[in-house]
Symmetry: C2
């Protein structure tokens, strides 16, 4: 259902309206009047007959006209009744400022659930509770008591949705200081009904919005945000997001703040990257990125041209580029030669280009050098650093504005200790200007990341759409267990499941007698591992249930007898299904792959490097299923130890293609299985030399409980 | 020799002085006059009789009085002669603005070496060339043409030494914007004579200076900076440093900028940490840290109290604290109980503490909450976050100033979108205020790091002093080789050297006949490794020169014969000294330790985790010798894979003490050997379970060449 009634209402009732405009219940009315909201303003409060010249009604029922949206500014205890009256009146949307709900413990949560149930039942779309509301500056809908309403609120191409009210207000004010006007500023509050993903999706579709910024602590429904992100890529609109509660300390603070569950931060990082959402580390970087997206075209690649009046700043920016995975290409011989003609001899013409302070005396130097660097085929984006320039500010700003305007590539300006006149002129000309060298580079990285995400989205659109529709048939083994049935599949079943999806497993036989073990040894040949198979013995080695390097039928027969005898002695009550005889797989790169059900994002595919990498460095990556080939490749490359796959210590490179195929197989399985698989781990998966494929050696599959 | 003549001259000659005050050669005179330099100003230029009312002399020889310092603003080609005339006149110091030296290729380097030689020969202390000079704002010595001289230049407790002129000027201006006055601003230029370390050391000793900031691309003499850093810890004055040229791209840029060699950035990071130098990532962070050091007392530990008016900012700051290794302790029950009485119910009282926007209506809430948090015994530093507050700014600032004043612990204020009046009031009251939540946390980390460094310095002062004086005797084997002698020690010599320093090596015998091999097998017992010993065979395995797991005298005899025969066949011209028979060391944690001669910092001790950690992640740490026990422990703990030493996969924790002893042994060896060892690697060093010590299995020792 559209949120038009909430965010673009033609009439607004204010329940609990006050004539004291300093009060929370007074401010929205003041703001609506001050900003000239063009719709109907309908104060409701039995205490007044009129407020600020407007008729005030004793109850919502008494309002003699249609009400699209109600602002609810009454004490928590009166909210449910107020909303019921709204529903009775036919109001379609409400924003509830009142706090005292989910953020206040068990009683508050119960109370919140009741208003959420009312919303679901009635179709009333509800923002809040515990929100400072929102502004839609296009339609001048000031449904907020935020301090942000006090200053100028011109509309602009940026939509901002935030789970934090006070922090969001500060970010709003910082954006205003930078001359970045916001079209929407929305605090989602406790999200009893309308949640962050709904608001994001709505704001994105407004054609006046070109960039969406977000601040979150945790998501109710991550899949909704991923759908919005896909739509954003389709529309070519970047989403820039600060996600906090990254640490244990932060998660603890967030839990006490909004009662929301943060989830594993690493999953957010990985899944956002997959979805083309640009993640900012903090409020400052959020606005740096928004400014870059608002003012700059997208770069076609990661090549950065660095132009400075200071060698030192050039070095610092080159460092930062390399740290962030951007490139600082040497310029072509033609560009260098042309630069040499304009740059003083004590400057530098490769990249970084140091035009020296000479450009103050010779303004043409700046224009020609920047035009040359921007035109270099190896350069996809350019940053120009300068400092101070009190006297020449206006001229420099005008030159930069015309250079930026005629270039199809982004030009960012890093101006340290800039004179106010220079900043103003650049902003008015829609040039992205930031106060520091490194922050400009960080902003370029955001542009590059989003441009890449968008290109990949377009290239893989068809594949992705196909992947959305399951083609395989779910094997019976993974359909949810009936009551009393096992949740953990037997090894035999787990291997069959993986093989059904095209994942090669180390050859195995489940044998139940010594003679079968002997026969398996003959059939499988080579060196074998024998492992007890029992639903009651998770730690096989501790129970004496494992033998490695068993060769030949006689040894296998004896090993079977010894294993079973040892396990029987140590664990007399364990149910023994048999012994798994399995070929020993020759060396390769040990990895771990798997599926996990994430509470926010649904089934995730996981990959990690085995051994110490997983155990000590937790070097794993996640992506939401379904995966494209590009996703799978990207997640492998994002591992810190990924270099191992290229072959170290003189080893051959590993079969990356086969590893990617294995991840895509798990992705298909996840899609087919829907909710049926709670967890799946292949550990280890041996990745052989290039062209030799992969082999799953051990697998754990846990079905979702009833 | 003191730099007083350079930096506190009583008379200044300006060679090439111009009456055009916009020119480089005109500005110093203008600045000296404008700022009221109290000493003698002596323009030298045959073109003028007077400049700005001062007598102008045709040559330095013609100046009729003593000249302490000369500013040289003549073309590069005339510099050497000008300096020769200065020396003849008895001038003791000079600053050379002129560019066209080391930064301009071979001819320039040659030219620079000639002026450097003149300085060495004559005792003239020379700053530059290719520098924009310096200001000493205490004595109003404006020996610079930097734009920075144009605004206000009140003296203050911060000294700033920078290798970059233009970037340094921007940083100066940014500091001024923040109300952080600089006592010294010095650009070291090409450092033909006086280098960064000299200037750092000088500025540190000025008792009016409390904090020193630095910007470097690379050091001529790192040891000089380390000595200054030790002195800084003794004086309790922090050094905050931006070191660029961290990346390959940055190093390339730096090389073309000042011609300086960047060196391995990791070494700088590690050695600075050891020396208590606080490293900033960029100019913005440099000034954030300087501001914190200027305004705040030092914290006694890493516990951060977070107080906000916004839950969201609290979460963000808690995240950042954890990322940086700071703690966000839960407050004591007493503090929580007391806070609960003042903080509104919808706020939070643990940590982060959310006092909510209520404090605007109730100013006592802010004061009481902050006093309580600052007084909590688990809190060592507190950050308070707020946003906007146009109306209440003055009152809030006054309250914060008085809270900060009465607390012995640091209080930092993060004020987003702050009104100018609030900022000004806080700065005047010497309260550290920063514009963002995360930047305030970053600044606290700097305070904590320096405070730790200072405590460790005091605690280990005696040990460190002792370590400076070698006590052992250098074994003959590591004295530099005579001409024609080997640079690489034989394994036998290398092991003896390590054992002389108390490092246990896997038992070995160098055997030269099959019978000796058999006897060695009996004596050593157990399983052996046999390895060919030849100065001509660096890759023993490839030459067929290694056998592992050899047991018993008969096998050893046979293995000796086979190894020698195989190697003779494959490498007929190799000199074979014998075969090294060595015990096979049972498992443990594989590590690598060693010594490296660093061009900037001299002998460094290295430690790394073996296997993939070294090869793929380059997980190694360095410290300059001599090491204290604290240094050795800290370098091991700084490894990313350090957790392995605590015992993973159910393994016992490793013998950390013995590892530390081994590093200290190498440190002693480095001190004793002086320049004699070029490189030493013990790889692997097996660290056994706690209490079991370490064993060196293989060692490479390379002596410094003649």
């Amino acid at each position: 259902m559209s949120l038009d009634n909430l965010l673009r209402p033609r009439s607004i009732a204010i329940l609990g309206a006050s004539e004291d405009f300093v009060k929370i219940s007074g401010r929205p009315l003041k703001f609506l009047l001050d900003k000239g909201y063009p719709g109907r303003i309908l104060p409701v409060n039995p205490k007044y007959e009129r407020i600020a010249g407007l008729p005030c009604y004793p109850s919502i029922a008494a309002v003699p006209e249609t009400v699209d949206m109600a602002i609810v500014a009454v004490p928590a205890g009166a909210v449910l009744e107020a909303l019921e009256q709204c529903v009775a009146k036919g109001v379609r949307a409400a924003v509830v400022f009142s706090s005292g709900f989910g953020e206040m413990g068990a009683a508050g949560r119960d109370h919140e659930q009741r208003i959420a149930a009312l919303a679901r039942r009635s179709g009333l779309r509800l923002c809040g509770p515990n929100t400072l509301g929102f502004m839609n500056n296009f339609e001048r809908v000031m449904a907020t008591f935020s301090q942000a309403g006090e200053g100028e609120t011109p509309p602009g191409p940026v939509g901002f949705v935030t789970q934090s009210g006070a922090f969001g207000t500060a970010i709003f004010a910082l954006a205003r200081q930078r001359g970045l006007p916001l079209g929407y500023f929305i605090n989602s509050g406790n999200e009893a009904d309308v949640d962050f993903g709904d608001l994001l999706a709505y704001v994105l579709e407004d054609e006046r919005i070109r960039v969406v910024a977000g601040y979150i602590e945790g998501l109710r429904d991550g899949r909704k945000v991923l759908r919005a992100a896909a739509r954003a890529l389709e529309l070519g609109k970047p989403i820039v997001m600060v996600k906090v509660a990254r640490s244990r300390a932060g998660a603890r603070a967030a839990a006490s703040h909004t009662g929301s569950l943060a989830g594993a931060d690493r999953v957010y990082g990985d899944v956002f990257r997959q979805a083309g959402i640009v993640r900012a580390q903090n409020d400052e970087q959020l606005l740096d990125l928004v400014s870059a997206f608002v003012h700059c075209p997208l770069p076609q690649g990661p090549g950065v041209g660095i132009v400075t009046q200071s060698g030192g700043a050039g070095v610092l920016m080159a460092d930062r580029c390399e740290e962030l995975g951007l490139q600082v290409p040497e310029l072509t011989a033609e560009t260098c030669a042309a630069l040499r003609k304009v740059v003083p001899a004590f400057g530098a013409v490769k990249n970084p280009v140091d035009i020296t302070a000479q450009f103050i005396a010779d303004p043409e130097l700046l224009v020609r050098a920047l035009d040359l660097v921007l035109a270099d085929p190896r350069v996809n984006a350019t940053v120009f650093y300068l400092g101070l320039m009190e006297r020449a500010a206006a001229k420099i700003a005008a030159d930069l504005a015309s250079i930026a305007k005629r270039s199809p590539k982004p030009l960012l300006v890093a101006w340290a200790a800039a004179p106010e006149a220079g900043l103003r002129a650049l902003r008015e000309a829609s040039v992205c200007v930031l106060p520091s060298a490194t922050r400009a580079v960080d902003a370029i990285q955001g542009l590059v990341l989003f441009a890449e995400g968008k290109r990949r989205f377009v290239a893989e659109r068809e594949v992705r759409t196909r992947a959305m529709h399951p083609v395989s048939v779910v094997p019976a083994s993974i359909e949810g267990p009936a009551a009393g049935e096992r949740r953990v599949l037997h090894s035999d079943e787990a291997f069959r499941l993986l093989e059904a999806y095209g994942l090669r497993c180390a050859s195995w036989r489940l044998v139940t007698t010594p003679e079968e073990a002997a026969r398996a040894a003959e059939e499988l040949g080579g060196s074998l591992a024998l492992k007890i198979e029992s639903p009651d013995i998770p730690h096989k080695t501790d129970a004496g249930g494992v033998r490695l390097g068993v060769s030949g039928s006689a040894s296998a027969l004896r090993a079977f007898e010894e294993i079973v005898a040892t396990v029987r002695a140590r664990r007399p009550d364990a149910r023994i299904l048999g012994v798994l005889a399995q070929e020993m797989v020759p060396g390769g790169t040990e990895m771990v792959i798997g599926l996990h059900r994430d509470p926010q994002f649904g089934p995730l595919v996981m990959v990690g490097l085995g051994g110490v990498f997983v155990e000590v460095l937790e070097d794993v990556a996640f992506r939401a299923a379904p995966l494209t080939r590009g996703d799978a490749l990207d997640m492998v490359r994002s591992l810190r130890g990924a270099r191992i796959l290229h072959g170290i210590r003189g080893r051959a490179p590993a079969d990356l293609d086969a590893l990617v195929d294995a991840l895509l197989a798990l992705s298909r399985l996840a899609t087919d299985a829907g909710q049926a698989i709670a967890e799946l781990d292949v550990n280890p998966l041996i990745v052989h030399a290039d062209g030799q494929g992969v082999t799953a050696v051990d697998a754990l599959v846990v079905r979702e409980g009833q």
